[in-house]
């Protein structure tokens, strides 16, 4: 059985959206509890080894305290947990470094705690190693909300091969943003804003939004991709993307209200909604500004810079938790036959 990687970076979900909107904060002890629930699910699917990204924010302390206690009491059946031997910077760079190392170790899958930004960082670095998201970030359009115990179970079933890869894994679209030869990716959306500085990274000032490029958008989604969901929805598998040209509210033929961030509804002018074909480079509508990747400003550009945004299909793999569990149910993968026959009236 291949090992499973877990990346739980304590620095995620600490940004300015806790002030400018009403975004939540997932405390360190809850993050540790999520990892424990993942481990429980993984163990139930017979995963014996888990490698974890090291950090100094407190998750490891609480996790190992609990594991050690349960080991002493003989009450738990958890996989062996080892931490990667790598320097800790206490930044998002740790997530990228850990993803690279886990891919080099050929782990069966990487489970990621975070929102869209953290998943982007991991997907940038893990190659074709499948990832499974646990939604703990600010905007969570990419990772689905689900109890982590179930995610652990599904990842274990997928890693063990009990669920065939063609059912357990899915291929995903992504955007490749290039500025003068430097490539970055976005899993959900790339937004072009007029502000030409990175600053506090998150975007929320709708009057500065100029373009949105998205891989998918659901009508009940959160963040920039909800603009797609509310105008021309697109699922995660159809091999196309969406481009929406934007303008300040009141300056375009129609103005749309949309959830910019948790607890923050913004208004934005919609100039046009277009289909993005795969592998066709698009240019921003403005000659200078910055590009927010999955909700966070990462790149700035000016008039002299060469900027393009391109849709890629079949770009990286994810674990389909619901499909894994449905397969497990159909084939009785979690059924253990009792050694003694059931008696009349007992539950079956």
């Amino acid at each position: 059985m291949r090992a499973v990687g877990i990346i739980a970076n304590p620095v995620s979900a600490r940004d300015i959206r806790r002030i400018v909107s009403h975004a939540g904060n997932l405390p360190i002890n809850d993050r540790a509890n999520i990892v424990l629930r993942l481990l429980t699910g993984l163990a139930a699917a017979d995963v014996s080894d888990v490698v974890v990204m090291p950090e100094n924010g407190g998750i490891r302390t609480q996790l190992m305290r609990t594991i050690e206690r349960e080991r002493r009491m003989g009450t738990a059946r958890l996989p062996a947990v080892t931490y990667l031997d790598m320097p800790v910077t206490s930044t998002y760079l740790d997530s990228a470094a850990a993803a690279r190392r886990m891919a080099d170790m050929d782990v069966g899958a990487i489970v990621v705690l975070g929102g869209d930004g953290t998943h982007r960082v991991v997907a940038s670095s893990c190659g074709q190693t499948p990832i499974a998201g646990v939604s703990t970030g600010t905007n969570n359009a990419f990772p689905e909300f689900r109890e982590p115990t179930i995610t652990g179970l599904a990842v274990g079933l997928a890693t063990s091969g009990l669920v065939p890869a063609d059912i357990a894994l899915a291929l995903n679209k992504r955007l490749v943003v290039t500025v003068n030869g430097r490539h970055e990716i976005a899993l959900v959306d790339a937004a072009v804003v007029a502000e030409r500085y990175v600053g506090a990274r998150a975007i929320w000032k709708t009057e500065s939004f100029r373009d949105l490029f998205a891989t998918f958008g659901e009508a009940d989604g959160i963040g920039m991709s909800s603009l797609v969901g509310l105008t021309d929805p697109l699922d995660r598998t159809t091999p196309q993307g969406r481009r929406i040209r934007l303008a300040p509210a009141g300056t375009a033929p129609r103005t749309l209200a949309f959830p910019v961030a948790p607890g923050l509804i913004g208004r934005i002018g919609i100039l046009s909604v277009e289909t993005m074909a795969p592998d066709v480079p698009c240019r921003p509508s403005v000659t200078s500004g910055s590009i927010a990747l999955d909700g966070e400003r990462e790149l700035t550009f000016g008039e002299a810079d060469d900027v393009s945004i391109r849709l890629e299909t079949d770009a990286f793999r994810t674990v389909c938790v619901s499909d894994c569990m449905a397969f497990a149910a159909r084939h009785g993968l979690l059924v253990h036959q009792s050694s003694s026959p059931c008696h009349e009236g007992e539950p079956r």
């Binding site: 304590p10 407190g58 600053g199």
Partner: protein, 326 residues
Amino acid sequence: MNNPFPLSREGLLTAYRRMRTIREFEERLHVEFATGDIAGFVHLYAGEEAAGVGIMMHLEDHDRIASTHRGHGHCIAKGVDVKAMMAEIYGKATGACAGKGGSMHIADLSRGMMGANGILGAGAPLICGAGLAAQKLGHDGVGITFFGDGASNQGTVLESMNLAAIWNLPVIFVVENNGYAESTSVDYAVASDSYVDRAAGFGMPGITVDGTDFFAVYEAAGEVIRRAREGGGPSLLECKMIRFYGHFEGDAQTYRAPGENEANRQHRDCLKIFTGKILEAGVVETGELAVIDSEVADLIEDALEGAKAAPLPSAAELTTDVYVTY
């Protein structure tokens, strides 16, 4: 050339001048302290300028700050006279506190600078008083207390966060996290080292920013300060930053990894990061910054010469300005 930044061109140059002044002030003190002419300890703010200036660019004189033992940068960013500061550090009668405070007790209430403070975590309860005053007087002033990752564990800080929350005070708790409480790593000394979690424990929002990026601090500080002015109550801002020098002058810094200081100066120098951005955007020119550099160097030289030449306080003034009767 369009200015893509959230400050005007003049604002950018003002921010640069303040950060450059702090850097020059501290670099000169680093040299001068080694001569043995300065009594007591000094704790230098070099490397941390973007945090102090990024926050203070939003403040007016009626806004109050409570500083730390590492307070020179806060003083300069808040507008305290540099010559009076230097004289104070030299313990001279012309100092900001008539030479009786020294480096760790510089104050100027006319600028809203309530004082540096040699007691770790002591600024937090003081700023609650300033916040309460603003609230009762009905003006839009805010109070900002700075403390380090070490002082974040002090009971005074945690009690003050509770007080600020229950009274909904216009107060901001700024954690200047430079990674070390004197010589002890934050990774060792702070349980669950998310300060955002600590704020949440008192029912207030908290955020973390890159304290080496002026624009990140400026943008985040603008929002927490606006929130406080509008009656939104207290919040916490953690600035992750570095200090160029030791905890105090003379610190051998054996707790640092080999090459750490050099790497910090090369990759995380907030002044280099700031100038790189504004020059790349073409909003200011190298020559303009060079003029400021020259003016600042002259100012610090004048401040030093003035401080050295100034008289010591007289023995007759030993107890004046020290005790208050009320």
